[in-house]
Point group: C2
C-alpha cells in the first residue's frame, strides 16, 4: 500500500481508503438506510465504527459532499441532501414538428394508463397519482363524517352550478397567494381538473380547431383533444422554463389557433415552471390576438421553493384566461372536486357544467371546504411539499446512480414527476412492457406527444416512494441495460 | 227544515246534514289532519262525536267514498284514499309541430331552475328533487363512514372507468327485475344520469344533427340538446302510454334522425309509462333504421304497481339501446352516482367518460354499492314507493279540489311528478313569478318544449309534501283564479 497526497491508503485495486468509506455510506443512502434529510453519523462516531482516522472520515465526507449526496449544516453535522443537483444533464428544449396534427393516443392510453390501475401490486412509478397515504384522506374522512352529521339530509341534495359557496370562498382566498384577486362568484366547482379543462375546450373550440400545447404534454390533455376532434399544435418547451414564447409567437403567426392549453407550474411530465414574467408575456401575447388561454395549475401548490409561483391568470386583463385546478394532486383525487375560473367565458362554462354533470358531489365539496377553512390544509400541504421534495430528490439520485450515464433527467422545482431521456436505442413502450412483467409500472414517452416525439423517454412518479422503489429502479436500470 | 228521501235534515242553506258531516271530514283531510292511508273515525264514534244518527254518518261516508276521498277496507273501516282517481280529465296526447327545431331554453332555465335553488324557504313544488328526508342519506352516511374506515386511504384514489366493480355487480343484478340480463362489464359508472345522457348524445350525434324526443320533455334534456348544438324533433306523447309510435314512425319517414331520447318509465313531466310491448315495438322500429335509442330510466324504480316495468333495453338485440339511470331520484342526488349501459357504443362512451371526468367519486360509489348489497336498499325503495304514491294522491286531490274545474291533470303510475293543464288564459311563466312572490316554487310549462307548446301547463312535484303544501296549493289556486 502507498500513501496519496491527501490522506490514508489505497487497497489492492488502487482505491483510497476514504473512497471505500464514502462508497459504503453511499450504499447505505441508496438502500434507504439513510434517507434524504436524515443525519448521518458524526465524524467521530464513524471513525470509531470503521477503525479509520478522523482525517479519512472527513475526506470521505468531503467526497460525498462533492458528489452531492450529503450536505453540511452549521454546527449540526452532515445530512443526506434532499434536493441535490442532478449529475445528469437536463433534456434539451423540445423540437416537435411545427404543423397542427390530429391526435390519436387512445390505443396506447388503453394499454398503459387504464391497464395499470388493474394491477394493485405493481411498484407504482407510472400514473401521476399523488400519495394518498400521507394523511389527507383520513383527516378528510373524519371531517366528512362530522359535516355529514351536521348537514343531515341536505348532503343528499343537488349542489347546482356554481357549487358549494364555502368552498368557492376558500378557493378565492387561497388564490391571493398565486397573484389572483378573485371573488367567490368567479369560481365554478367541477368534478375535477379534467372536467374543468374539457369544459373550457368545449367552450372555445369547435371540432377541427387547433389548440397550441406544450411538448411534451400530459396524455389526459391529448386524449381530450382526440375525443373532441381537435388538432394539436405542439410548441417547443424548455424542461425548466416551460413553453417557448418565441416558438409560440412564431406558431401563432403561421397557424390559426383557437386556444392555448398550458400547465404553467410544474408541467406534467417536465416539471417545468414558467417564470412569472414569462406568464405575463404569455398572457399579453395571447391577449393581443384574442386567443383564450386554458391554464392548468393542478400542481401549483406543490412547490419546493419558499414562495408559491403565480398563475398566468394573475396577469389577465381581458378575461381570456380560464384557470383550471383541483384538489386531486394536493389532497386526493377520489373526492372529485376541482374548479374553473372561466373569466369572460363564465356563461358558456356555466351551461356546459350544468349539462355535463348538473352538480358536483355535495359532501365532498363541503368536507374539503371545512378541511381548508379549519386551517388543516396549510400544514398538510407544507408537509407534503417537503415529502415530495425528498422523494423527487431520492428518485433523481437513484436514476443518476443506476441508469446509463448518457441519460438525461429533469430537475423539477415542484410536483412529483421526473422526465427521463433514455439512450436512443431504448423504445419506451417495449421497456414499459418488460417493466410491467417485472412488476413495475412506468409511463412511456409515447403518451406525451401526438406525433410520438418521445419514443425514448419515460416519466417516473416519485410520489409513492417506498422500500420497494430502489430495488425497482435497479431492476429498471438492468432492463434498460439489456 | 224538511226531510229528504234518504236521510236527515237540511239546514237553512239547503244542505243535508250528512253533507255537512262529509264536508267537515273533507276539510280535515284537506288540512292534513287525516292523511292519505290514515283510518278515519268509525261510524259509531263519529255518530257520538257529532250527535247525529248512525245513518247520517253512513250517508256522509258514502258521499266521501263517491267523491273518491275515502275507501272502505274489509272489516277495518274507512281510510283516506292513497291513489284516488282524478276527477279531472287527463291532458290530451300532445300535438307539437312536426319539424326539427333549434333549442333555446337557457334564459327561462336560468330564471326558473337555477333561481329556485337559491331560495331555501320556498314551498317546493318545482324542481324535480326527490325527498331526501326519507332516511336514505342518513343510512348512507352511516355506511359511508364505515366504508371509509375500512378502505382507508384508498378512498382518496381515482376509481377509473368503468368505475366501482361492486356497484356494477349490484346494478347488473337489479337489472333482472327490469327484464335485462347484464354483466357488470356492460356498465359504466357516471357522475349521474345527466352525465350518462350527455355522453350518449355526444357518442352518436354531431352538432346540427336531429334527436327525436317526447313532447313534453324534461328541460335538462332540452338544455343538453341546446348546448350540444342539436336539433329537437318533438314527437306527440300520450300522458299515460308515452311516446306515440305511429307519430314517431311518421317522423322517421320524413326526417333524418340521429338518435331518439325517451324516458320510458314515468316520463318527466307526464308520468307516462310505455307499456312493455310498446317498448319492444319502439326498439324494433329504431333497430330497423339503425337509430340509437337513448333510454332514461331514472324513475323506473319508483313504480306504484306491484311489478317494476321493464326497460326498452330488455328488448335490445342489436346493442343500439343506451340505457341511462342513476340513484338520484330513488336514493338522493347529492352523491352523484349514475350509470350507463351503452351497448355497442361502449368504446366511445368509455373514452368520453374518461375525458369528461376521468372517474366518479370513489366513496360515494362504494357506499352506495354496500347500501344496496347489504339489503338496505330494497326496504327503503319499497317504503318510498308507498310514500310517493300517497303524496301524489294527496297532491292530485288538492288540485282537483282547489283548481278551476276546466284544468286537466295526469295520473302517473310512478315517480312523483304531476303535469297540470291550466285554463288557456293562464301564462305559466307569469304564474310562476306570482307564485314565487308568494313563497311557492312551481315549474312553468315553458321549460318542457323547444317550441313553447305548454304555455298554460305547470309541473308540480309531490315528493316534498309537508304541512305547508295544502295552504300553498290554495294560494296557487287563488293566483290562478285572479
Amino acid at each position: 500500500m502507498s500513501t496519496d497526497p491527501y490522506n490514508g491508503r489505497m487497497d489492492a485495486a488502487g482505491t483510497h481508503k476514504y473512497e471505500q468509506v464514502a462508497s459504503e455510506i453511499a450504499r447505505l443512502i441508496d438502500s434507504g438506510t439513510f434517507r434524504p434529510g436524515d443525519a448521518i453519523p458524526s465524524v467521530r462516531e464513524l471513525s470509531r465504527q470503521h477503525g479509520v482516522s478522523i482525517a479519512t472520515v472527513v475526506q470521505a465526507y468531503y467526497l460525498l459532499e462533492a458528489q452531492g449526496l450529503i450536505e453540511a449544516r452549521d454546527r449540526s453535522g452532515f445530512y443526506v441532501r434532499t434536493a441535490r443537483p442532478s449529475a445528469l444533464p437536463e433534456p434539451d428544449i423540445s423540437a416537435p414538428r411545427s404543423d397542427p396534427t390530429g391526435v390519436s393516443v387512445r390505443d396506447v392510453v388503453a394499454e398503459v394508463s387504464l391497464a395499470d390501475t388493474r394491477h394493485p401490486n405493481l411498484v407504482q412509478l407510472g400514473a401521476a397519482h399523488p400519495n394518498t397515504s400521507l394523511g389527507a384522506p383520513t383527516a378528510l374522512t373524519r371531517i366528512q363524517a362530522s359535516v355529514a352529521r351536521r348537514m343531515g339530509h341536505r348532503i343528499g341534495m343537488y349542489d347546482y352550478v356554481p357549487g358549494c359557496e364555502p368552498l368557492r370562498v376558500q378557493i378565492a382566498q387561497r388564490a391571493l397567494s398565486s397573484g389572483c384577486r378573485l371573488s367567490p362568484d368567479d369560481v365554478i366547482i367541477t368534478t375535477g381538473c379534467t372536467e374543468s379543462i374539457n369544459l373550457c375546450l368545449r367552450a372555445v373550440c369547435r371540432p377541427g380547431d387547433t389548440v397550441a400545447i406544450e411538448s411534451p404534454t400530459g396524455f389526459d390533455a391529448l386524449l381530450s383533444l382526440d375525443v373532441l376532434g381537435l388538432q394539436a399544435l405542439e410548441i417547443p418547451t424548455h424542461p425548466r422554463d416551460g413553453i417557448s414564447l418565441d416558438a409560440l409567437r412564431f406558431a401563432l403567426d403561421h397557424h390559426r389557433v383557437s386556444a392555448c392549453l398550458v400547465v404553467t407550474n410544474y408541467n406534467n411530465p417536465l416539471g417545468s415552471c414558467m417564470p412569472d414574467d414569462h406568464k405575463r408575456d404569455l398572457v399579453d401575447l395571447l391577449a393581443a390576438r384574442d386567443i383564450p388561454l386554458i391554464e392548468n395549475d393542478i400542481f401549483g401548490e406543490i412547490h419546493f421553493q419558499d414562495r408559491r409561483p403565480n398563475v398566468a391568470k394573475a396577469y389577465d386583463r381581458k378575461g381570456l384566461v380560464m384557470l383550471c385546478s383541483s384538489f386531486s394532486k394536493s389532497l386526493c383525487p377520489g373526492f372529485r372536486v376541482g374548479w374553473v375560473v372561466p373569466g369572460r367565458f363564465m356563461p358558456a362554462i356555466r351551461w356546459l357544467k350544468y349539462t355535463t354533470s348538473l352538480a358536483s358531489p355535495t359532501l365532498s365539496e363541503y368536507a374539503i371546504a371545512e378541511f381548508v377553512a379549519s386551517g388543516s390544509y396549510d400544514p398538510y400541504i407544507r408537509r407534503i411539499r417537503r415529502t415530495y421534495e425528498r422523494y423527487v430528490g431520492a428518485l433523481s439520485d437513484a436514476v443518476r446512480r443506476f441508469f446509463p450515464p448518457e441519460c438525461r433527467l429533469t430537475r423539477p422545482g415542484g410536483g412529483f414527476l421526473l422526465w427521463v431521456q433514455l439512450p436512443e436505442r431504448i423504445d419506451s413502450l417495449d421497456l414499459y412492457r418488460r417493466a410491467l412483467s417485472a412488476g413495475i409500472a412506468i409511463t412511456p414517452g409515447y403518451l406525451f406527444s401526438p406525433t410520438n416525439q418521445y419514443r425514448n423517454f419515460i416519466r417516473l412518479n416519485a410520489a409513492n416512494w417506498s422500500d420497494e422503489t430502489l430495488p425497482a429502479l435497479r431492476t429498471l436500470a438492468a432492463l434498460i441495460g439489456q
